[in-house]
Amino acid sequence: MPEPILEIKDLTVEFSTEDGIVHAVTGVSYDLYPGEVLGIVGESGSGKSVSMLSVLGLVPMPPGKIVHGEALFKGDDLVTMPKNKLRDIRGGPMAMIFQDPMTSLNPVLTIGDQISEAIKVHNRGKSDDDVKKRTVELLELVGVPFAERRVEQYPHEFSGGMRQRAMIAMAIANEPTVLVADEPTTALDVTIQAQIVEVLKTAQRETHAAIVLITHDLGLIAELADRVVVMYAGRVVELADVFTIFNSPRHPYTVGLMNSLARVDVDLEWLEPIPGQPPSLITPPSGCAFHPRCAFSQGRAICRTEIPELRKADEGVHLSACHFAEELAVTHVRVGAGAGDGS
């Protein structure tokens, strides 16, 4: 296996609020390998964005705080790195695509200006002509028609899909080695989502960047990701390659996610939602944070008393944080059976 380009090790991030300390991310570790697409899945508030944003220094501190852990990017720890060095990494070797292209573009600057800005920040010496040429080139790459003309336009003259393309153009402007896409399609309608997925693929082909895809859209994960990290209540609960996650999940939460998924290939009468509410991150449930909602725990004491460790659950690289991961391997058939019941 090649060397990981980004290693997040035992990262813990907390927010102090008036109601108490929010344990947004607790002891999270994962690696990112060159050229791969790593999907991070989880509900809102599961810490999937915070784990990335905090190491990039994009979480306001205070109230946020990285309690411990490190994030090694090409061997350098992003957490302890001086601010100005981290700034050079942001938008350079590590770039971000934001969720909502409606609000992530500056309304008073032209699209061209904003992409040029992204280039200029990291290439001070570059002549204006070169920057302009590169801007048009980037817009063409992400499939904005009439790029030559459209660089002069403002965000309000762009449709949602076109804006997201522009955002992607900005992100890949400096040929990043890591591209963090934070819910890149959530704010878009479904047909545009499909186009943006294609643009992301193009972007990756061109830059060979490793992509961290943060989303709660399992369809997007299935389409793009190579490996998947499933997060729940600020912890990694399962980690495996995308086929394994979909075919033989080894954590009840992942199983629940699969069952709550609307699928076009199976005739389902009902979707099975995961019962209950996402847990409070101020006072997380004792033991396994998922146990109050877990259909699988069946009231077993260990689920309430002991926090399960992330451990090897299956052949290959497949980690699960469930006390009974092995048991799931036997019974997981129910996942498919549950889906088949409706037909």
């Binding site: 990039l56 994009l58 100005n84 700034r87 050079d88 990494i89 942001r90 938008g91 350079g92 770039a95 971000m96 934001f98 909502d100 609000t103 992530s104 573009l105 500056n106 309304p107 008073v108 600057l109 032209t110 800005e117 992204a118 920040v121 990291h122 992400v142 499939g143 904005v144 028609p145 009439f146 003309r149 002069e152 336009q153 403002y154 003259e157 449709s159 899909g161 076109m162 393309r165 955002m167 900005m170 479904v190 047909t191 989502q193 499909a194 186009q195 997925v197 294609e198 643009v199 193009t202 369809g219 997007l220 299935a222 389409e223 699928r263 076009v264 290939d265």
Partner: protein, 312 residues
């Protein structure tokens, strides 16, 4: 799952291609184009702009336009009333100086001071406000308490003391004193704007792109505040003209023989009501300038803030 056709959707998007190809030319208008459009619909503002440009032109070309020098005396015509047939359109003052020329040079001085004050105080106010609003916390606290301090000073008393202390008469000094008092309002406005702007996602996006604090303030956030800043600046010009006139009227502003509009009224009122033209003409010009600047400011505010759109 995402609904895909057999062929992956091509990277080129269809939505705008259609409009271009069908020959419909969509003329792209920038915010500025829209703002211009709205401004020119505001009749009073446009009229005021014309008036102000005329007055400004007179001020710039004062030496060429004034029939006499500002301190040139016509000793045969002391306190001559305004006449159309004679050579003194606005009459003369007690020293026989042509009053039209005095007023023209007065406009020149007053406008110059006002512009200087407006630009300097806008610069200070914008800098203080944006730094306070962007960084927040202790920096914000410190800067804003200082702003409050300046704001609570009794303006006129400070102005009078300062002009005695630093010496008055020099238009530059008067302008400097005014500017150091006038920046507070704008600082608060800009701070407020920055407080809300810094929470915007595009600021976070700029941060994620690796832009430095200074770059984010100047390149990403300030352009979003241009509207309110420009409007406040126009109103500051009007305020500066009036204050400078008041200061000069009280004898602490620009000193004779230099002509400023306030100075003219001051020396005029000493003569009493007999020589009404000495007070009336500079007074009218002050009113005209202040009014038209205020109307322009109003027009700009409506033009630059589309959410406040009223019946045009």
């Amino acid at each position: 799952m995402l609904p895909f056709g057999e062929e992956p959707a091509s990277v080129g998007s269809p939505d705008l291609t259609l409009a271009y190809e069908s020959g419909v030319e969509l003329e792209a208008r920038s915010q500025w184009a829209y703002a211009r459009l709205r401004f020119f619909r505001h009749r009073l503002a446009v009229a005021s702009l014309v008036v102000l440009i005329l007055i400004g032109g007179v001020a710039i070309f004062a030496p060429q336009l004034a029939p006499y020098g500002f301190d040139e005396q016509d000793l045969l015509n002391l306190n001559a009333p305004p006449t159309f047939d004679d050579k003194h359109l606005f009459g003369t003052d007690q020293l026989g100086r042509d009053y039209l020329s005095r007023v023209i040079f007065g406009v020149r001085t007053s406008l110059w001071v006002a512009l200087f004050v407006a630009i300097l105080s806008t610069a200070i106010g914008t800098a203080v406000g944006s730094i306070a609003g962007y960084f927040g916390g202790q920096v914000d606290n410190l800067l804003m308490r200082f702003t409050d301090l300046i704001l609570t000073l009794p303006g006129l008393a400070v102005l009078l003391t300062a002009s005695v202390f630093f010496g008055s008469g020099d238009p530059l000094k008067v302008g400097l004193i005014l500017a150091l008092l006038f920046w507070t309002g704008l600082a608060r406005i800009v701070r407020g704007l920055f407080l809300s702007l810094r929470e915007k996602e595009f600021v976070e996006a700029a941060k994620a792109a690796g832009a430095s604090d200074m770059r984010i303030i100047v390149r990403h956030m300030l352009p979003n505040c241009v509207g309110p800043i420009v409007v406040t600046m126009t109103l500051l010009i009007a305020l500066a003209i009036l204050t400078e006139a008041a200061l000069s009227f009280l004898g602490f502003g620009i000193q004779p023989p230099n002509a400023a509009l306030g100075t003219l009224i001051d020396s005029g009122q000493e003569q009493g009501l007999e020589t009404w033209w000495l007070v009336t003409f500079p007074g009218l010009v002050i009113v005209l300038i202040a009014l038209s600047i205020n109307f322009i400011g109003d027009g700009l505010r409506d033009a630059l803030d589309p959410t406040q759109r009223r019946r045009a």
